[in-house]
Structure formats: C-alpha cells, structure tokens
C-alpha cells in the first residue's frame, strides 16, 4: 500500500499517522503539503491527519477543505481512491463535501481529551475488515468539535446502508449516554461514504497503533488497509 498524508498548517498528527501507515505497510508514507496541486502518482490511500488546520478559523476544517491539494483529493476519491480522515481530517472531509453531515461544538462545550470505547459497527470496508463487527476498541479522542449532526434523512441513509463505522460505547459495547464524549447524534464516531472507500472518524486510531502506547487497538485499522490495498 502506498499512502500519502496531507499536511496543512496546523496539522499535528501527521507524523503519528505516517508512522502508523509505515508500520502497517512497510513503506514510508508520502507527505504532501497542502499547496501542492497534484497527488504523487500511484497512491492507494490519501490520509488527512488530526490537528488544528488553519487555527480552526471560520469553522474547523473549512479553510483546509478549500486548499489547493483538495481538488486533487476530491478527484482521487471520485476515481474510487481510498481516503481516511481522522479528527480534523474528518472535519475537512465533511467540509469538502466528501462525507455528509456536520461536526459541531461538543455538547458539553469543553475540549475532550481522553480515551473512549468504540464499537465496530461494520467490518464491510477496507478500513474495518480486520475487526469483528461488535468488537470494542479503546482509543483516544482529542477534540472540541466532534458532535456529529445530520438531518433525519441522512441518518436514516447511513443506518440503512450500514455506513456507521464506529459508535461510542461503554467498555462492554453497549451504548450509554455517558459513553458519548461529545453529544454526537446516534453515538456516531465514524462514517463511511456510499462506496465505502472514504472513512471519517473523530477518535485517533494512530495514537494506539504502537504497542509502546498501550493495547494497539488502532493498529488493526491500518493493517486492514495495508492488506486490502496491497495488490492495488
């Protein structure tokens, strides 16, 4: 798998993401500056990292979504390429119109930085194929604007098409009000695109991809991608 990591001014998880991808695929990721107008040839995956691109000015991800490289990312996605957006990367994907809904200020108004539990809702994607549906992961969140909101129609479509990838849950996998760190509708932590090749998620699997940092629950996501995209 050949992966590219897009770097915006204010990205701060780009190195972590590159490390996780390198560890899973055995090859270093290409770091792509936001001012580039084309992606490196032959990429199998474009990954948008967490951080505070452009200082979260206007709306989180709004300025980054209009950066020069994003035209190439949108074209890459339209051609069936795999795209992963984590935290601020998820916000950018939504602002770019690649995923539906919106990410609003956390319901509690505070920045939330702690471990949460996620229930894997579907194994039917290149990102989640290595998990069992229903498995419970422990990974960190670190965000101020992760409160997923969508219209009733969009939510119904996401559910009907099995496009909710992860939900916030209690350690035993049940959904409970206290398990949701930001007030996201329907406890949604991550969603897939219609073609299941774009994943946006607020939690940080790249921060649990190295065994030195605790049980590497996030590493499976990158390993799944490397396995699915190995021949591509």
């Amino acid at each position: 798998m050949r992966a590219g990591v897009i770097v915006f001014p204010g990205s701060n998880c780009d190195r972590d993401l590159a490390m996780a991808l390198h560890r899973a695929s055995g090859r270093p990721a290409d770091m792509v500056w936001h001012k580039a107008t084309a992606l490196p040839a032959g990429l199998d995956l474009v990954a948008l990292p967490g951080g505070f691109s452009f200082g979260d000015y206007l709306r989180c991800g709004a300025i980054a979504a209009r950066a020069p490289i994003m035209r190439a990312v949108v074209d890459f996605a339209a051609a069936g390429g795999h795209v992963l957006g984590i935290c601020n990367g998820f916000q950018v994907l939504i602002e770019a119109g690649l995923l539906p809904g919106a990410l609003m200020r956390n319901a509690g108004l505070t920045f939330v930085c702690r471990d949460v539990h996620l229930r894997v809702e579907t194994a039917a994607s290149a990102f989640t194929a290595g998990y069992q549906a229903g498995a419970v992961l422990r990974v960190p969140v670190a965000h101020h604007d992760g409160n997923y909101v969508a219209g009733a129609e969009t939510l119904a479509t996401l559910r009907a098409e099995d496009r909710v990838a992860f939900r916030y849950a209690a350690p035993d996998g049940t959904t409970a009000p206290g398990a949701n760190p930001n007030g996201a509708q329907d406890d949604i932590a991550g969603i897939l695109s219609t073609n299941r090749r774009i994943l946006g998620m607020m939690p940080h699997p790249e921060r649990r991809a190295d065994p030195a940092l605790g049980r590497p629950d996030g590493a499976t996501l990158f390993a799944s991608l490397a396995q699915a995209l190995v021949a591509a």
Binding site: G108, L109, G151
Partner: protein, 79 residues
C-alpha cells in the same frame, strides 16, 4: 463598498454556546431571556461599486465558504 454577512445556525439546530450564554446572563440577574442564538458577523470590503453585483458576489462567497449550508444560514447586507 462594504458587505456585512451574518452567519447563524438554522432554526432547529441545537446551539450549546447560545444556551451557555443564556444561562450566564440568567446567573447575572438578566431576567426574561427566552433564548440566545450565537452566530458570526463577517465584514467584507469590496472594490465593486454596484450594490447588486456586490451582493451577488458575496452570496457566492457565502455558498462556497463562509456558511455551512448543512447547519447554517446567512444574511447579506450591503452598507
């Protein structure tokens, strides 16, 4: 020519910041507040001299960047 754009949350979209402001105002003794909605005010200076053309340009800016149509609505005023 200057345009003033007010970006606000659509009716029905929960506004936790507005709610927090409403509670704080209540705590300070301001009574009778039945709701607070928080938004953004953006002022744009334009070289354009025709108000209609200026408004059309600013509306295009709102649709492509300044407002998120999923959750927000906007008003444009040419001043």
């Amino acid at each position: 020519m200057r345009a003033r754009v007010a970006v606000t949350l659509k009716a029905g979209v929960l506004d936790p910041q507005g709610d927090a402001v409403r509670h704080a105002l209540g705590t300070l003794g301001f009574a009778g507040i039945t709701g607070v909605r928080q938004g953004k005010l953006i002022e744009i200076d334009l070289a354009e001299t025709d108000p209609a053309a200026a408004e059309a340009a600013v509306r295009a800016m709102c649709d492509t960047l300044l407002a998120n149509p999923v959750i927000e609505t906007y008003r444009v005023e040419i001043v």
